[in-house]
Amino acid sequence: MNWRGNALRFCEVSGLPVLEPFVRLAAGEDPKEQFVGIAKFVILPFFAILLFLGLWSLAAKSIVTDSGKLPSPTATWLAGKELFAMHTAQKAADQGKKQEKVVEAVRFLADAKKLERRAESANAADKKVLLANALVMKQRAVQSVNYIPTSAPTFVDQIYTSLKTVFFGFVLATLIAVPIGVLCGMSPWFNAAWTPFIQVFKPVSPLAWLPLAAVVIIWLYSGVDPATIILDDIFGIPVGQVKAFLISAATVSLCSLWPTLVNTTLGVASVDKDFLNVAKVLRLSWSQKLFKIILPASLPLMFAGLRISLGVGWMVLIAADMLAQNPGLGKFVWDEFQNGSSLTYARIAFSVIIIGMIGLVLDRIMICLRNMVSFGNPAPG
């Protein structure tokens, strides 16, 4: 009984109602009823996907222009498999290169030592040059041994970069939107001051924000020594890409903070009056009122906003990547489009599917988080 309850609760909180009939079936509940559930959540979607693939194949046969054609599902699948194979091959090659570089480093150092030995017996003028040369060789040895592959990012690398960017931008947006939203919700005066900004900036497309974000980020970083940039340590962003990364992330933030802001305001403003009266009776301080009453009560709506924000952020990121030249899925799609090779459209179709599936997973994660803070009122899937 207990495992059944837990499993059902898991299905509910994780936003995976698909699993529910299976759990009930395993628990020995009426099979007939469960098969209806399975038919609805598993078999029907399965046939819908089959139908979609069929229609897609038909469309692929007829949609052909001089400069390209719609790829078939098979071509898309093969292109995807190839992309992953290319990733594996690239990583193996990079590894081999690294080993080669270590061998090379030892050779450089041996050469440096030979130069030093020669310097010992050389005249003063030669000695200086020989020692300088030995130093150059030593530096190169250290460089070689700490070699970081310079191959272009693979498809899988691009996925990671995109995820990093969207999370960074999303966290930034949350840190800005939640405090402002709480203040707006608590004070109608503050809210009135903010409303014009929210109304004007909310509908702006990422493409319009991007150049402005770029100017601000580049200004922030002008004259900054690359060695002092800490982001590359935290997120594994190569030093040269920090600016592009921040430009994309800032664009994601600017576009995705509005749903969180608006929902937080609404959540805080609509806290049950009874709760607030209780707070008055108990003479709670301002901070106690905020942390014990207002925030917990407004969490479900706040998370509903965060869920929309993350979805918007993911959508915006692809466009921002394309424009900011930030390595990521958007740049992958754009580069492929520019390639104009016979594989271009199949690869783009495959990345469209991957982008969609990642979006789905991100959405499920947010539903799960929301359900965990909503005190038994799960959101509709």
Binding site: A105, L115, A132, V145
Partner: protein, 502 residues
Amino acid sequence: MPFVSRPVRSHSSGFALLLVSVFAGCSSNQITLEDLEAAADKLAVEDAAKAEPAVESGAAVPAESAVAAFLDVEKPKLKFGFIKLTDCAPLVIAKEKGYFSDEGLSVEVEAQSNWKVLLDRVIDGQLDGAHMLAGQPIGATIGFGTPAPIITAYSLDYNGNGITVSNEIWAQMQENDPELRKPQPKHPITADSLKPIVESYKQKGKEFNMGMVFPVSTHNYEIRYWLASAGIHPGFYNATNIQGTIDADVILSVTPPPQMPSTLEAGTILGYCVGEPWNQQAVVKGIGVPVTTNYDIWKNNPEKVFGVTEGWNERYPNTHIAVVKALIRAGKWLDEKDADGKLVNRQEACEILSRKDYVGADVDVIDNSMTGTFVFQKTDVRPMPDFNVFFDHQASYPHYSDCIWFLTQMRRWGQITEPKPASWYAETAKKVYKPAIYRKAAEMLVAEGKLESEEFPAADYDGYRPASADFIDGNTYDAKDPIAYINSFTIGNKEDTVLVKE
């Protein structure tokens, strides 16, 4: 130095085990100098046991008293930008063939979406340097477009562009000129047969749109040259009209190179001037016909350069020399010929360039123009060994006269809005083109025995290619008299002859 390129792999057999034993003791994952020294000492013992003669004595460092100093590279990790065009080849080849790593450089090359983004990223330091249109450093330095001091010490290639028109316009050109109906019409094809078509568009009040890739690109000046030599006005620029459409019969607009074929197919433009492989893409897909190449417009015309900011060059002078050394070797590799004059490395270059992170077009599209032939139509495949020149004819040297040609065209079409004296042209060329860096790199390569000194211009060469009439209209270009050259065109701004003496 020679021992840099000496194959280290020959030693690698015994190494793997040796290294594992040495590095197993490392506490951090960063290997330090001490760890290496331990390994190198073991290697020295191994070498002694094999009784190998001292390898580098005499070979690496000349025995004379003047020992050649190694380049102390200030910035070993570099990132260069490029646009998906076959003439980015020297950058790609220098990376893939290990010429950069021979100089101790670890280089990443990254495709950029368009020329404006590429230039901005070089200026704000996100890129160390880039594959640039020859006009970009010049335009940036004199303040047309984004102003910034950009210099170049290496010219990436000569030629390599073509002008393509849509199938429909080609059919109309064939009606106007029966010669063009032949499977292999006489070349060069001028814009004479295009003129009546442009005129009929004008009468109907329709715009005749053509694409080029950037306001200061070679393509812009070439398509203007080609149109104007047949009396078609491509339009003037002035201080307020920066689209260059004053008095225009043909409206030229900017389209990024890889988008040219699809924009042509969409009918937004009726023809374009672009680098390869985007003319061949139109041939292979059957959406347009290349009518002429820039080799016919001007034989051995400068095309792309390797550009960096002046500040970058000041901070990393040795790095710049090392980069140019690697590029020179890459250019030479690309132009390597066998005894019959056949380009031997181009097929391999096409294969490398067709990878998705470089040019990315199909290999059969790229090799249509890279391997010594050019496909005009499926019936018309011509040998054009000089369609892409990377090193021969001193193509990689930054000639002042090449810079001045761009300046004359900028003045001809009004991008330079004020009249300038002849001396200004020479001074500006000296500001942008830096043959001294190229010379230094060349000297080092000669000293290392990688190239011969005869492969470079003579020591007393002043950077001005001899006056030449190898243009489609037979006009003579003498870089030492830019004012007279500007005045020699029927269509174009005219200068006061007083300026010649200033």
